[in-house]
């Protein structure tokens, strides 16, 4: 406050004075005027809601927002300081119908009438909708909402991280479901704030911690119901991108069934409630038991079928074997008869029976040439019904036929 400022009770602000030289002695400074007016306004006019159309919206680098609010006949300067403006889901567009809650006052330095806005709401959920749609379009353009990006959850997770407030009802619900359905499951709670200014950063950091932990099969990001504003951090670009970039399959359940946040849209799976998220993440113990029972039945059936197949083959063998053996024996008998016939035709015995004799030496070698006969050497003559011992007297070629012979 400038040194010219006077406490308001010392200014006879509303005392009518005549504009003459005497009263001019009591003139006050501009600063005193403005500060007194500011004080007067702030004392007498409460914070209130004002509706109008936004124009000249200016988001300053400091985080403060400057704009004008107007209707057909009037307009007023407005400022929203960064400490309040962070809560805006997005900047409104010029021409948007809004209601602001704030303190009408005088900006003393400039003598300018303005409203210090603490809160700004677009008609309905206009601003939330607008912010949601803006970011949703960006994400869609980047392909982050593509169903093909969705990874399947592991069929049988052993270790699951739950990213949520450690004291929230959502965590309680999730743990209850896990205990009932999958008591074998290891659960790691990753605490984070789930509403307020720093929540989006908190969510991002908790997700990254959970992903760094070894052996995590799936992550659940969740919180219970709340106002649109409470849930807003799950539409914050920082949190949404952290979910989209999560290296581990992630299920997201924020608020009630009707609440849809962008975190849920980029997650691998969206669940309506925290409990449902837990159910979708783990198989049910009873279902696992049923699967085991199915396997057990399959084993027994498999072995029984295998044995029955063996038995069927055996009885087939029993049935056809006698026939096969008989046929085999008959074939063999026929072959023996044929062979015997041929053997008989070829046998020298048949020739001997017609009066021929065969000369053989003692070793049984057939002597068919004169060169094999040594004069004086013994040999044998095979005839039809036995053999005759003989000695070579002399040998002669064919031209000297009659000169030699066997005795």
């Amino acid at each position: 406050m400038s040194p010219d400022a006077l406490p308001p009770d010392q200014i006879e602000f509303f005392e009518p004075v005549r504009p003459d030289g005497r009263t001019a002695q009591r003139a006050i400074s501009v600063s005193a005027l403005n500060h007194a007016t500011q004080r007067l306004l702030e004392d007498r006019v409460p914070k209130l809601w004002i509706r109008g159309e936004v124009s000249n919206w200016n988001a300053h680098g400091s985080g403060h927002r400057y704009f004008r609010l107007r209707d057909d006949d009037a307009e007023v300067d407005c400022v929203m300081f960064s400490g309040d403006a962070w809560r805006l889901p997005t900047d409104p567009e010029d021409g948007m119908e809004v209601a602001v809650f704030g303190q009408p006052t005088l900006f003393a330095q400039r003598g300018r009438f303005q409203v210090i806005v603490r809160q700004l709401e677009a008609a309905g959920e206009g601003l939330w909708r607008l912010a949601f749609e803006k970011l949703r379009r960006t994400l869609a353009a980047e392909g982050l909402l593509d169903p093909a990006r969705k990874r399947p959850l592991p069929g049988f997770p052993r270790r699951v991280a739950v990213v949520t407030s450690r004291s929230g009802a959502a965590l309680r619900d999730v743990l209850t479901v896990f205990r009932r359905r999958a008591p074998w499951l290891d659960v790691v709670v990753c605490d984070c704030r789930v509403q307020g200014e720093a929540a989006a950063l908190d969510i991002r950091d908790a997700l990254s911690r959970a992903a760094r932990l070894p052996g995590i099969d799936a992550i659940i990001l969740t919180r219970g119901g709340g106002s649109v504003e409470d849930l807003w951090c799950f539409n914050d670009e920082i949190a949404v991108r952290a979910v989209a970039a999560c290296p581990i399959p992630i299920v997201c359940a924020i608020g009630h069934e009707v609440d849809v946040t962008l975190c849920e849209l980029v997650a691998d799976l969206r669940a309506q409630t925290p409990s449902v998220a837990a159910e979708l993440t783990t198989p049910d113990r009873d279902a696992v038991r049923a699967r085991i029972a199915g396997i057990s039945g399959g084993l027994a059936r498999g072995l029984r079928r295998r044995i029955e197949r063996g038995r069927a083959r055996l009885s087939t063998c029993e049935r056809i074997l006698p026939g096969l053996v008989r046929a085999r024996l008959e074939r063999a008998g026929a072959r023996v008869a044929t062979a015997a016939g041929r053997l008989h035709a070829l046998s020298p015995l048949a020739t001997l029976s017609r009066g021929y004799a065969v000369a053989v030496d003692d070793g049984g070698t057939v002597l068919s040439r004169v060169a094999q006969f040594e004069p004086g050497a013994p040999f044998r003559l095979r005839v039809r019904d036995g053999s005759v011992r003989a000695t070579t007297e002399s040998v002669s070629d064919d031209d000297r036929r009659g000169e030699g012979g066997a005795e």
Partner: protein
């Protein structure tokens, strides 16, 4: 039971019975056994051996299912940035 059916995790060393069954792999193996048993290329001795192995795995899976109890832990980041887990204690209700 062969070694590959058992998976020990380093952080389980403080628990009794540190060796843990890879339950899902066991179920998958069992289902494989059932489907081989149904196939044509297994002789009777092979089928009986498969059946025996299946029974053994079933028993292990059932025992695991009846006894396995998971832990609930909380992830803490230390001031040095290292991650630690410690048993989760349910906080007072906040509604």
């Amino acid at each position: 039971m062969s070694d590959r059916d058992v998976r020990a995790r380093p952080e389980d060393e403080d628990r009794p019975g540190a060796a843990e069954l890879d339950f899902e792999a066991t179920l998958a193996e069992l289902e494989e056994i059932v489907s081989r048993l149904d196939g044509e290329d297994v002789d009777l001795d092979g089928a009986i051996a498969l059946f025996r192995k299946g029974l053994e795995r079933l028993e292990a899976a059932n025992a695991w299912l009846a006894e396995a109890e998971g832990r609930v832990e909380e992830l803490i980041e230390t001031s040095s940035g290292a991650l630690e887990t410690r048993p989760f204690e349910t906080p007072d209700e906040e509604g």
